[in-house]
Each structure stands twice: as C-alpha cells, then as structure tokens.
Amino acid sequence: MSYTAGARAPAMPIISTVDTKHAVFTTAQTIASGTYPTAFLALYVPVLIESRCIVRKLGIANGATASGNLDLGLYSVDGVRLTSAGSTAQAGTSAEQWLDVADVTIQPGCYYLAVAFDGTTGTVQRASLSSAPAVAAMGVLTQDLGASVVLPATATFARTHSLTFYPTLMAATATNW
C-alpha cells in the first residue's frame, strides 16, 4: 500500500470572500452586479486562511459598469496592511480584475480582504443583504477614508450596521494567475 501526503499548500489557488473554504459569510445569497455603496468607504471583509500561503495578486469581480479608481488590500485581523495595490483604474466589466501586489507570505489565521472606490458609479459583483445588520454581523468592517481611495497602512476599523453590500474580493496564490 502506498501513501501520498497532500501538498502543504492552499487547496485552491484563489482565496475569496464568497467561497466556502475561506468565507466567513455563509448565507447562500445571489451574487449580482451592484454599484459601490459609498465613495471613499473602505470595506474590510474577513476570510479564514487554513494553511500557509503566498499572496501574489489581489482581485475583484467587476460588475456591469467600470468607473473611477479603486484600491485592493490584504490586512491582518489587527488592522495592519500586509499588501495592497494602490489606486488603480477599474477596468473590465462583468469580469475579474487582478492587480499585482508585493508578495506576502501569510500563516493560517483570520485576515481581511479590503476594497475602496472613489465613486459610486463603478459596480461590483456582490451579495445584497437588505436586512441590516446582517453584513455587520458577519464581521465586515468599514472605514471612512475621507477623500482618498488609497487603503491606509493601519486600518481604523468601524462597524456600519446599515451596510447591505457584500463584495466579491479575491487573493491569488498561484504565480501564473
């Protein structure tokens, strides 16, 4: 009888806010295109990482309209920015948009995938949980960035109870994604 150990690597090359392996969000809701809720509002969406991995790219599932600039980031549970893309034009509709970031190795734990937009015209594939405070109860946190779309080096977390917008955000561990 032979024995083959599983690879000590992520089971999937993508970590996302909507896959059952990583998402804290557990309600089976429809994902559809929706406008970003508030300009310069950062959203921090928790994901659970089960094994050590290297995050090489960050991504977002764009909706039917692309507009303005966005930023994507990865944060520790304590609010430290581990990597981010910087202000980038939203590009592509109804498709994934991937941004190169400085590679970061992360250990198993709870992290936040973060996004901010500089307007409310651009759209994102998102779940809309119209009964507040469902999104806040899932652990999604926020931050008013003032007039900047750039995600901060250290997050100042807040909880927006009225938030109904749950975005589809991703991180890629594969070199060729």
Binding site: T26, T27, S131, P133, A134, A136
Partner: protein, 187 residues
C-alpha cells in the same frame, strides 16, 4: 514580506451563521434571506451548535436587533459546553441580562474574557418577551433541514441567569438567530 505575529485562526464573529456554525447553510439553497421577526418565545432560550476548530478567546456577546425594539425585552447570550450526548450541558459564560437597544444594529455586551478550546459548543440566545421585539434571523421551511438542524430549546428560563446544566428539548422549526460572540474588544 512575511507576516505571522498577529494572526489568529478564528473569525472575529463566532456564531451559527458564520463559518464555525454547524447549520446546513451551504448545502441547501432554500434558505431565506436574513429577515427580522419576533423571537420564538418569552422567557425562552434557543440553542444553536457550533464547532470550534482552533483555540479562541471570546470577549463580547452579541445579537442582531431587528427594526422593532420598543418592547424593551431583556436579552442574554450564553455559551454552553456540549455533553457526551452532544446536547447543551454546562454553561461556560453568559452576558448580563441587557435591555434590547438600537433597532437594526448589532448589540454587543462585554463578558469576562473566556478562552475556549477546540470542540463542540452551543450558543444560546435568551429573551424575556416577544412583544414589540424583533431579531434578525434566517431559516427554512424545509422538513429536511429541520431534521438535520440540531437546534434545541428550553422554556421557563430567567434571562441573565440561564440554567447550568441546561435541560433542553428538541426545537421545532428551523430558525437561526444572528447571535454569538466576538473575539475582538471593538468595534
């Protein structure tokens, strides 16, 4: 860059409706969207199972208020150990009985920081009244889900002084209230 210092393999909001919940959320798509409704009963506690895969420290109890809270119900959330039979047993921690506050907000109540190891637990939500008091919840009318949901209940309890050990019965009707514990002190 390498990061490891502050990571904890636990969600910030532990509940039956987040990733450690044992409810069949992901397997069935006939769950309704979260909605608000009156609680299941007065002086009543409902137990939802969770499985904790990694050590965690819980710091606050929480529940999600619906749009009507004028009834001023008294509410508490508790954590129970699971017995060898797999039902709620000894109470580990319970927040103080607290008047239901702002509508449509997550309401937090501090508890003594409590370390819990890996294993099975039950989250209990207790409410004193069903008049003009609503909570966010979801659920299903599916008999199949009801059969596997493993929810339990106990009546005639005192909010803020829940029994230990519990003597629960099987709960009918599959409803998950949004409640649980936070591993963070804020926000």
């Amino acid at each position: 860059m390498f990061s490891s210092a502050t990571s904890r393999r636990v969600p910030t909001m532990i509940s039956a409706v987040t990733s450690w919940g044992q409810m069949p959320w992901r397997e069935y798509y006939d769950y309704g969207a979260p909605t608000a409704s009156a609680f299941a009963g007065a002086n009543y506690v409902r137990f939802d199972p969770i499985f904790v895969p990694a050590p965690a420290t819980i710091r606050r109890a929480w529940w999600a208020n619906g749009p009507t809270t004028t009834g001023g119900a008294s509410v508490s959330v508790a954590l129970y150990a699971s017995t060898s039979d797999g039902v709620p047993g000894v109470k580990i921690v319970e927040c103080a009985a607290t008047t239901q506050g702002t509508a449509s907000q997550v309401q937090f109540v501090d508890i003594a920081d409590t370390w819990i190891g890996p294993g099975s637990y039950w989250i209990a939500l207790a409410v004193s009244s069903v008049t003009n008091t609503t909570f966010l919840r979801t659920g299903s009318s599916s008999a199949a889900i009801d059969a596997v949901a493993s929810q339990m209940q106990q009546t005639g309890i005192t909010v803020g002084a829940l029994p230990s050990p519990a003597t629960p019965d099987i709960a009918g009707g599959h409803v998950n209230y949004f409640c649980g514990f936070a591993t963070t002190a804020s926000p």
